[in-house]
Symmetry: C2
Subunit: 345 residues, 2 copies
């Protein structure tokens, strides 16, 4: 398995990305192609222990900056590290790519270079979140699909179901729409219509869930638009940070609390890890002809390492082939009558 890593994206520069790639190559026994400014990357690599690893460099002369418009970046920067990663996939030189760069630019470039899967109007970013039942829940879209039509949500639901079958090994994933209440009378105009579409979609659609069920493990796949998905993730991150701050403040107040803090720091860290995006690493883009895992701009070494693991699994499970099969059976995904998911065997 060969994975291209965009070694220029992300808020912390190539150091973190190269380190994450080295650890990923070691843990997942895959080949890594680091894409970016050769001189910078050689300097970073010189500091790493590389024996037994299959790492190579591929020069890309440009970098997409975080504040750039995705379309402008696509038009102007034809040799960006993001674009070169996708060209490597297209040429068959790598089987997947990982980027912590400008997520809008990664998505736009993925769609332009790899093309959408047949039957998909809007590729979606799907995140695996840990849940309290000890498993993981797929949340999608956490990408840039901020204004969705009902059939877009329905497509996300079908893609999320296939993803959960293959990545979480759940035979018949329970799929739900995120809403402001569980009753059928709840939801907004878009979710209500998507709810009707999904009843006939041939997946195990179980109706609406509330925000609290993101973390309970009551369902396996939760579908929302990218605006809501982003708010959910950022709000959760903010709350975990708030928690950490409260504990730190408490520990600084007095000896007993500090003692308690010391004793509790192990479970506290475990809790933080459980909901920390660095743990889950990144989100694959579902609905394009190739494997792209998008990591948070502020991704840590560990996040990049985990994103590489995710990319390996995604490619090995041939998620895209399964998706293509399901999508091919139904050219008009707006009417879902004929969608039947394949069983994972």
């Amino acid at each position: 398995m060969r994975i291209a890593v965009d070694a220029m994206g992300g808020d912390y520069g190539p150091g973190v990305l190269v380190q994450g790639a080295v650890r990923g190559a070691r843990q997942y026994q895959c080949e890594i192609v680091l894409v970016g400014d050769k001189a910078s990357l050689e300097k970073e690599l010189a500091e790493q222990e590389l024996s037994g690893l299959a790492l190579s460099l591929h020069h890309a002369s440009e970098t997409v900056e975080m504040e750039e418009s995705p379309t402008a970046a696509l038009r102007r920067k034809r040799d960006s590290s993001i674009r070169v990663c996708f060209e490597l996939i297209k040429k068959g030189e790598t089987q997947a790519m990982v980027s912590a760069g400008h997520s809008g630019a990664v998505m736009a470039t993925a769609i332009m270079v790899l093309k959408r899967s047949e039957g998909v109007e809007r590729p979606a970013l799907a995140l695996l979140l840990p849940n309290m039942a000890g498993g993981r829940t797929v949340l999608l879209d956490v990408g840039s699909n901020v204004d969705c039509k009902p059939h877009h949500l329905a497509q996300f639901a079908v893609m999320g179901s296939v993803y959960a079958q293959l990545m979480l090994k759940i035979k018949e994933p329970r799929v739900a729409l995120l809403s402001n209440g569980e009753e059928e009378s709840k939801g907004n105009e878009v979710t209500r219509e998507a709810h009707s579409l999904l009843k006939g979609a041939g997946i195990r659609y179980v109706g609406y869930v509330e925000g609290r069920d993101i973390y309970t493990g009551k369902v396996d796949v939760i579908v929302c638009d990218g605006f809501v998905g982003n708010v959910v993730l950022k709000c959760s991150e903010g709350l975990v940070d708030a928690l950490a701050a409260v504990f730190k403040e408490e520990a600084e107040k007095g000896l007993i609390s500090r003692w308690g803090y010391g004793l509790m720091s192990r479970p506290l860290n475990r809790f933080k890890n459980k909901f920390d995006y660095n743990e889950y690493g990144g989100a694959p883009l579902l609905g394009v002809n190739g494997v792209a895992v998008i990591s948070h701009g502020g991704a840590s070494v560990k996040a990049i390492q985990n994103a590489i693991g995710l990319a390996c699994q995604f490619a090995a499970e041939k998620v895209n082939d399964h998706l293509a099969q399901v999508l091919a059976r139904n050219k008009d995904l707006i009417s879902f009558a004929s969608v039947k998911l394949p069983r994972v065997t």
Copy 2:
């Protein structure tokens, strides 16, 4: 100050509501009119210590059930505890009401009996959330306005600004739209148009904030539609519950952790309280001619007590009069050019 308490709503029945009302009457030195089935309430009151308190009963023969449609409840149950509370306000017998009942029915009844404030198309529920800067942040709408037009969000922003001026004593509250990123290029169709409207609204509108800023205290008022507001709250509740479960699990694993748990339980509880909806009690409905505070269906004794405190403050600050002044200056809130907020003196 006389407050009507809907003593029949809520998931736990009249016991919790009566207890909360008794504590509220004691803490805030206000008169309470308990509205509901007289026989049940007399039974509950018999168990309470009432010396020195001004509590009375007002019979209502019907109760709106949680699963009823708000409009059907309005039409059919003319003597419901919710409706009777609002009739008492209309007749001038009480200055405010508190309910933990069916929130959709409370809102619909408020609008029908009290009427919308002039210039308001959609009354909104505004919640005071604690933030990490040590203050509180107003989040609205957390009610039933699931499908909003841009000018609805703009109206919420103006109402939220007045509310923060009076309730949080902030001279020029920083008001923001909740979005999927801070840059102007982010947001969805509705927030982008609302963003344009708000630039000329005569309030201290500071642009977009992300989900993580709900808890940072970076701004004073955060505006979203009721769908997103509900998801944010339920997701936060779910995450706090998940945290508590992780800690409990850890404590059950071994002696040292249990010891640590004991030492840390005080700050843990303090943290839980900080984000617990029982602490903030309830949310007032902004944009109707009267004071209604809506509490969570699963509200505790403490939540009801706090909701009564909120209702007292809301009525004492004459928030509605100030809102009416601001709204009256601009009959067409879609064009915000002439909205100028009054200074709180």
